[in-house]
Symmetry: C2
Subunit: 244 residues, 2 copies
DNA sequence: GTCTATACCCTGATAGAC
DNA sequence: GTCTATCAGGGTATAGAC
């Protein structure tokens, strides 16, 4: 962030920010594919090529938009976890505390930002399900540190559960949460439930989801998985990705 | 399989099928946006305009492809449920039976079809999270009857759980399953776990997921939700959130 | 370094000839 | 029914103006 001291023409540093803001708005409104660079740059009042000059490509622009939001969310998540662990003073946290700190913070943030926050999370969820170079870049860089912290907390909270099991269940919880957010908007489409009250669903969503996640996280272990004793030799080269 | 008895004029009815098969292959390989009508029709050996003539649009073609697969899957799901209920002879099924009949059938079908089956389910999952006219058309038409049957079975299996709660938890289970399938391919990217064995993950995925889903489905009810019949409004009269 | 104007190629879609 | 020609719109790369 080079603080160039432009005085008269504020475009120099404003352009990038304006593109970013317009991109966020358009991406939220139309989705990734529905948004066009021409509309984004048009809304920002800049030329089409300015977008590519500052961000290289549409995907990189999208990445940057998500990045900006994810940073705030993950900072908050780390802050909450720090506070919890500080209060616990060395003792393992309760699973409910950890789950709430991670997914509760996510949902509260989304709800607090209104429909746009939900759309943002829908985009996140969509990105998570698409196996592309994208997630390897954004998520492993921005999500991984937070995930490591929370996984470590869960490992301490549930010492009797195999770590791979926790990793998988964390993944399952991510999926349930993603659908929980999307479901607020779409669930009434596939199910014609008779309870017309959809307004308080948003308020009740968090406790609903929390009960489900905790029930899944603390479920009895599957039968076939509880045998890591056959090959105790871990650390065979430490994650040697020989993936051709 | 397809005995091409036609010798000269095989195009008449084959064209539509060939486009459909090529579309399925390309959609699975490249995703919806990555696939192009030119490549699909090119692989099918027909003209570009033939695709639009027979299916109207790319989205309708995609819809038809998914439709064909979903029909088989849902037929199998209904068959399994019929068989279970027939054996139970009027008695409520166990939740584990219902969950396995729905999600287990899904996963077993996906795994049996190899990477293409997984890709297909990834497309389904992606479609579920996108709130468009698409899901309202395909899913409400093809999914809804199956969902109704399974929801009814769950209502009988869990009479003490409010029905809205079951509907939500069903939605959560869908999300967890969607991520479970996607995670087979992508989980190793975001987590550098030290267990190098990924081959048996596919075999262990189903029991892992089943334990999680059942734990979530039978979790204790959230505190604020356990009043379906006591009061219609619960004093919370605010209907519309007024977030400026 | 920033930004604009413009051209390039690909996409889905359509009209009209056969 | 099928094909050719053509369209508007998309992302992207580049040349050139400040």
């Amino acid at each position: 962030m080079g603080a160039t001291s432009q005085t008269a023409t504020a475009d120099n540093r404003d352009t990038r920010e304006r593109i970013l803001d317009a991109a966020e708005a358009v991406f939220m409104a139309c989705g990734y594919d529905g948004a066009s660079m021409r509309q984004i740059t048009g809304d920002a009042g800049v030329n089409l090529a300015a977008g590519h000059y500052h961000f290289g490509s549409k995907e990189d622009l999208f990445k940057t938009v998500l990045y900006r939001r994810l940073r705030l969310l993950n900072q908050e998540r780390l802050r909450v976890l720090d506070e919890l662990e500080s209060k616990a003073d060395g003792a393992p946290l309760k699973p409910s505390q950890i789950v709430d700190a991670f997914f509760g913070t996510l949902l509260r943030t989304a709800i607090a930002h209104g429909p746009r926050g939900r759309t943002f999370l829908r985009l996140i969820g969509r990105t998570l399900t698409e196996p592309s170079e994208f997630i390897a870049t954004v998520l492993s860089k921005e999500f991984a540190p937070v995930l490591e912290r929370y996984k470590a907390a869960l490992f301490r909270a549930l010492p009797e559960v195999p770590r791979e099991e926790i990793v998988w269940r964390f993944h399952f919880m991510l999926g349930a949460t993603s659908y929980a957010i999307a479901g607020v908007d779409t669930l009434r489409l596939v199910t014609d439930w008779q309870t017309g009250a959809v307004d308080d669903d948003l308020d009740q969503l968090l406790p609903r989801l929390m009960s489900f996640l905790l029930g899944g996280l603390r479920a009895p272990l599957p039968a076939a998985t509880a045998a890591p004793s056959t090959s105790p030799t871990r650390g065979n080269g430490r994650n040697r990705r020989k993936k051709p």
